[in-house]
Amino acid sequence: MKAIILLSGIVLGLVLGLFPSILKPKPLIWKIITIILVTLTIMLSFLPPIGADVETASFILEAKPNHQLNLKGKITSLTNNQDGKSIIITDNFGKTAEISLIKGTNDVNFKLGDFVVMAVSKGKSPDNFNFLRTVSINPLLSLPYVPKLEEQIRILNFHVPMAWISVLAYLLAMIYSIRYLKSKDFNNDVLAASAAAIGTLFAILATTTGMIWAKFNWGSFWNWDPRETSIFILLLIYGAYFALRSAIDNPELKARLSSVYSIIAFITVPFLVFILPRLVDSLHPGSANDDTAGPILSTKEGTLNIFQQITFSLGFASFTAIFFWMFNIWSRIVLIFHKKSI
């Protein structure tokens, strides 16, 4: 199911990208669809509040007593005893918890049957929490709380598509290089270079978003994790591609050598992106010591709920479409220049 949702996002992106043609100007309806897709991805990534169920919340707060987190559930009763006001909520799994309303927050109007997401801190017992503030009342959608990731799970929808697009762009660069070697048409060489350039841009974006994420999840921007090392090597390989291109003046030799280099360079991409980081122990999800295979590929239930999977797949579709739009504009510009210079 997970694979189908993810694949449909990728296929949607590719269909959008290849329609009506990679290089012809895109029709207005295409642009509107792409804009709507990206806006939808952004909205769905940021709008829904994240809330933990009772069991996760008490587990986390037992481990980190000074922590505060979002708890979600349906209000099943409102009580008023000598300790002050409190509410009882029931989460999606049927577990109940008591939330004590501290003085000063008594003006909050809770209604029976409301589904609330609220920030809480540790209370007197494991299923008792102190109310801090309301995050959302009756939200349309809410996301599950992922321990350790918390609000950072939203980065997933942007970080992973960046890495995927760099692979796609390098693949496109290889295809155009093969076409150049077959046809000796300089346009194909120019297109291969533009695809590799956009691919490098997205690889840098994946690295920087990953670095920021690593700072707040692993503790430092860069610690030579296998995943970080492999993307660094990949950037070096494609950096050398541009160095090679700028070092040769003879256009025919330049196109031939860089085409061959680009084909050989792409052979390393699947190894560096998909295989090597999975063979060794690493902090990144999906490594050899990660028994869940990462939240994306994991077959365990509850690692990503269905809504998160759809948003994630939408992220793939929309960013693939954006990539093809960028490639379309850039290659048309480059081809105009190329025609002028011949």
Partner: protein, 51 residues
């Protein structure tokens, strides 16, 4: 409203991201439009040369 946004800064982030995205959309569309005009101009110049 002010208090709500102070407590839920995620919506501020959402607003900023949407603003940046609108800027990028406008940029993309204008570049695409100008490029189309440029292509038409260059094509007509080329046909004039051949004639």
């Amino acid at each position: 409203m002010q208090e709500f946004l102070e407590n839920n800064s995620l919506y501020v982030v959402l607003g900023i991201v949407l603003m940046i995205w609108t800027g990028i959309i406008v940029f993309f569309i204008t570049v695409d439009k100008r490029l189309k005009k440029l292509e038409i101009k260059i094509n007509s110049e080329n046909t004039e040369k051949f004639n």
